[in-house]
Amino acid sequence: MEQLIEELKKEIIEVLNLEEMTPADIDENAPLFGEGLGLDSIDALELIVLMEKNYGIKLQNAEQGKEIFKSVRVMAEYIQEHRTK
């Protein structure tokens, strides 16, 4: 799980172009939206694309995203359970 969290942090930094950040700067338990990283709706779309492209997970409805994108750890747990690649 810890390895997946690290991998995910790197992917988030790359896909969201968080130039100033390193994986160590991201608290895996902090909220991704609002507080914490302060991401917005466009970032949510980028994360949905990331999940599908890198892990083969296709989110069926937007409501799922609210739960899955709570934090990096929650996201990693969901990926571990549902990944197809």
Binding site: V15, L16, N17, L18, E19, E20, G38, I42, L45, E46, V49, E52, K53
Partner: protein, 355 residues
Amino acid sequence: MSIYIQSASQISFQQPLCEKWLDEPILPIQSFNQPMEPDYKQFIAPAESRRMGKLLKRAVATALDTLAKGGCEMPDAIISGTGLGCVENTEKFLNAVIDNEEECLPPTPFMQSTHNTISSQISLKLQCHGYNSTYSHRGTSFDSALLDAVMQLQLGRVNTALVGGYDEMTPAYFKMLGKLGYWRDGDVSIDELKKDGIPGAISGGASVSALLGNKNTQNALCQLVDTEIFSCNSVEKLQNKLHSFLNRCQSETAEIDAVMCGLSGDKANDDVYRDLLCKEFPTIPTLWYKHLFGESFCASGYGIYCASHLLNAGKVPDLLIYNGKFEKFVVNNILIINHFQNNDFSLTLLTKCHN
């Protein structure tokens, strides 16, 4: 009503956001030239810039620098020209379409691939709710934006207008244009570019803007007498257009101190200038700028930028002189002539500010 260029700035392969090229120009050493990037953190917070492509960052920085130098916090209009928009993002998106077999497409490059993203991004940054327009007319994109700004001012709809020309040259697009013979092979020294009969120019991106206003501010660079764009397919017709333009400006060819042309070193581009200059301005010095800023769809913006600063500085560096000699040291009127593919022309007359 008089119109003034109150400030003008640029990012190019010269020192960015300044006029060091007047004294310490950077000479091109190859056909493919990338801009020298300034420190964008001065203008855009990292969180804000993370979603911006390179061209958007350049455009925002150039626009903000121009406004700051013109002492203007909020222009009444933002009018931009761009031949290709944010083509780097367009390429990213199209490559993703192919690589991902039309699935999992990234939203950010898609949003930024539209041409009007640039003008919109500047207005979002400024929170400017005034007139906002984008012209995408290939080689006359900047000239169209300039003409719109002049007409908006003449009609009294706005008091200030930020006009810009923005384009980027990606390696892939450079390669494609290269196959069409756009670029110079080998030696790109100034002497070599000046030689007649050789095909190909040097490339550059464009991020250049000017603040136009109806007030002669303390820092105004020059007065813009008039500008015009038109299509024309012969030098004779071009001469007629030139005469009627100068008549409208109540000026004559003899009153022009210098002619700034879009000469690039490419025979296909330069022949029409040579022909016109020979017939209409045989004794008047010719200036050029594309050897210092490169060729791009919005390169004509650098012609306006350069001429404005030359009039303000009251001097013309030797490197800007294509041919001819100045008999007098005072430059009051500069006529700027540009064309795109020998068909779409623009004429602009700038004159020194008389305070």
